[in-house]
Amino acid sequence: MASAPLLSLAIWVPIVAGLLVLAIGKNEGGQGNAHVRWIALGGALLGFLVTIPLYTRFDLQSSGFQFTEKEIWIERFNVFYHLGVDGISVLFVLLNSFITILVVIAGWSVIEKRVSQYYAAFLIMSGMLNGVFSALDALLFYVFFEATLIPMFIIIGVWGGPNRVYAAVKFFLYTLLGSLLMLVSMLYLYNKAGGSFAIADWHKLPLPLDAQLLLFFGFLFAFAVKVPMWPVHTWLPDAHTEAPTGGSVVLAAILLKLGAYGFVRFTLPILPDASRELAWMMIALSLIAIAYIGLVTLVQTDMKRLIAYSSVSHMGFCTLGFFLFNAYGVEGALVQMISHGFVSAALFLCIGVMYDRMHSRAIADYGGVVNTMPRFAALMMLFAMANAGLPATSGFVGEFMVIMGAMKQSFWLAFVAASTLIFGAAYTLWMYKRVIFGEVANKHVGELHDLNWREMLVLTALAVATLFMGIYPVAFTEVMHASVNDLLRHAALPKL
């Protein structure tokens, strides 16, 4: 077991399970679906189990890549099937595998049409996402990065809301534009590095500033669209609103992290000079996302749209943290990414719970839900607080660290960043108040029934994660230390 290819398992177990589900679940709506669900759950659980040793056996002292696997893949282009994780990426593999289980359970009774295709899409996507986080070869990264578009496109388009086609196509084209420009940048680097797609080689590659600046923008398009940063965030509210609950969860919890992860894996270490040169721009864009989008969030009338905009605002913290070039900033940003993975997933699930019962996402259609769904109201309260950044929840840790990092640079930077604590509290709690508290608004709300055991299980798991991360964040940050310090050392060296 010591030398088991854990990362390959993390990638291929869900994919194989997905294909299996696709293969057996032919009869729509018939008896076959019960098997499909259990197999999907089995695949997701197994996929999560194989990632656990990644955490327990992780060497905290090492800043290098661990659990590496390397096989030649495409000889002509010198491409390797090269996997490995460091302190930055390992947590995302775990997060992704964890969220996949929840998504499978959350869709258990909700999804009735094309069940096998639904589960197959999620499982295959889950495997590919693990691939993105563990790829050490740029082309392998790219293949996984872009391949995730296909299942997500299908998920939004097939199981989405009324405007799903528009949202799916917008999502796909936006993201594809970004990734194609990244592909050209990668080919340029491949060429400069003497025919190597190894990310580690690129880290060492000296590059003149003008080339770095051009490459920076090439990568920026890809990652900024994914994060998403202002002003290329407009696909996100549409995609989130129209996607089925599971789709929104994966989109918010994992897919958005790809962009931010790309900054840490590619932009900062490969283009350190350009990153420092353009840090002002990135910081400015992040602050706009935090403050301006925070205000935009306030006026949303659709709950899913509200959480989608709040995601943009929270992800602004991540990009802000990265471009502060200090350990607080970068670690804070990474913590924020994971915390956002829990919290936004939970909030989308909460909205999904209500939507399944009422078939409406409009805040105005709700009111007084606490009267009929007290357990749900309590859990959602926790997630709302976490979204607002209340201490002792995971939301606080990341934001606090990033604000500390910002404070080291300038007071005003920290001041604007901290405005999120006000806006965040305002939009989340105001929404919570309008939906949950007060008198029962209409007879539909009066007929609501509280959480069933499956919903309870999913939300409780996330609640535990949120609280654990808020109370004992060291469990997460200790994994990152060595790699983040190494990254910062690397980013500080000029490579002109």
Partner: protein, 501 residues
Amino acid sequence: MTAREFINHMLVLPEAIVLFGACVLMLVDLQVKTERRIGSYRMALGVLAAAAAATLFMLFVNGSTKQYLFHGLFVADALSHLLKLVCYASVAAALIYSRQYLLDRDLLRGEFITLLLFSLVGMMIMISASSFITIYLGLELMSLCLYALVALNRDSALSIEAAMKYFVLGALSSGLLLYGMSMVYGATGTLNIMEVARVTAQLAGAASDRTFLVFGLVFVVAGLAFKIGVAPFHMWIPDVYHGAPTAVTLVIGSAPKVAAFAMAVRMLVNGLPDLAQDWQEMLAILALASMAIGNITAIAQSNLKRMLAYSTIAHMGFMLLGLLSGVIGGNRLSMDDAYTAALFYVIVYVIMSVGAFGMLLFLSRAGFECENLEDLKGLSKTSPWFAFVMLILMFSLAGIPPTAGFYAKLAVLSAAVTAGYVWLAVAAVVLSLVGAFYYLRIVKLMYFDEPSDSPRAGAVAPAHPELQMRVLLSANGLVLLLFGIAPSMLMNVCFEVIKAL
């Protein structure tokens, strides 16, 4: 004839088999009285199998050595063997895919099979040509058969119009090509490709002869562009693709592209490498124009065949990216990589094109042509498996991993970036984004829309075609996925072949 000479003449064995087979088939078919023409059909497949066996035999015996025959008019090398194999496969696929379609329309006549085999002979001659005159002969043989095939459905005004257009424009392009060849002959005094290369290398310094040569080159490239179908010489493509019976569109859209690629390699890469700077610039303009016109115009099409026609134009533009990136400022180091990319692109494109048109044939049936976008509505409901195959085909055409189309794009883009055409690569990716839109639209129609209730609707539920068609079509799609996950095999083969060029 000595034994040695006889063995040498074995090199044309595949051509001989197909030619002889086609002649015999023509006679035998006169005796076939049944509608279904099982005999002719099986015999044609048999001929293809025999030719493939002969070619494989050559490949094993000769490996990558290059052998000339008929005083340098004919060449047998690894490239010709590989491209011929691709041609056999796509012609065989065309036969299998189109059988039911043609039967339903009462078009499965002996002419179809015979002309198909004769056009294959033309392609094989083009592929193995080592003289401008052989290229021209092969080209005409192929083209004349294809003109007739387009008019196969002689009761359809659309078909006749398409055939007319194809014929007139084809004749014009042949004229251009011939004119260019005569210029090259005037400048170099020879039509043999190797000789042309030798003489141009010597002439490279002399300004006056060079002008003459470049003048000829312009016409050669223009003629070539017509045949490959790149903008601004693409006008015939949409009309012909649209007008021809889908079975014939499949034929035109697949193997002839391979032959045209071979023609480009023989004439430009083998024959005029010293003018690379000149023709690369011309190809760059053609490539950019095709990618732009092809991708942008395809969006506006509601007819699937026209859409795929414009997509072909765009794809051929992409393929040119590889061809035009070989020589960098007189430096030929990256030549192999660049031409490997183009070769890989052509092969992958042919697989995709055969699959896409095969799907249209599959979904058509008696009295119904599957040719409008709406006809694909809700396919994932009525036929999930084939909707999935079409999904792979579309994502491959759009160049999204993990499909073979992605590596084809990657290879040519990488070649272009290596050659310093970064602007062209950026333009290419932006235009391929435009292209992604219309491929996505098909996926959208198949997966997101409900089957329509219009009278045309039942349309989407395929009739039950023969087993071999289902199997082949599935394999066709899966091969793209296979090459998407393990592209190495095909890439290595392409590289070996180009290295031996």
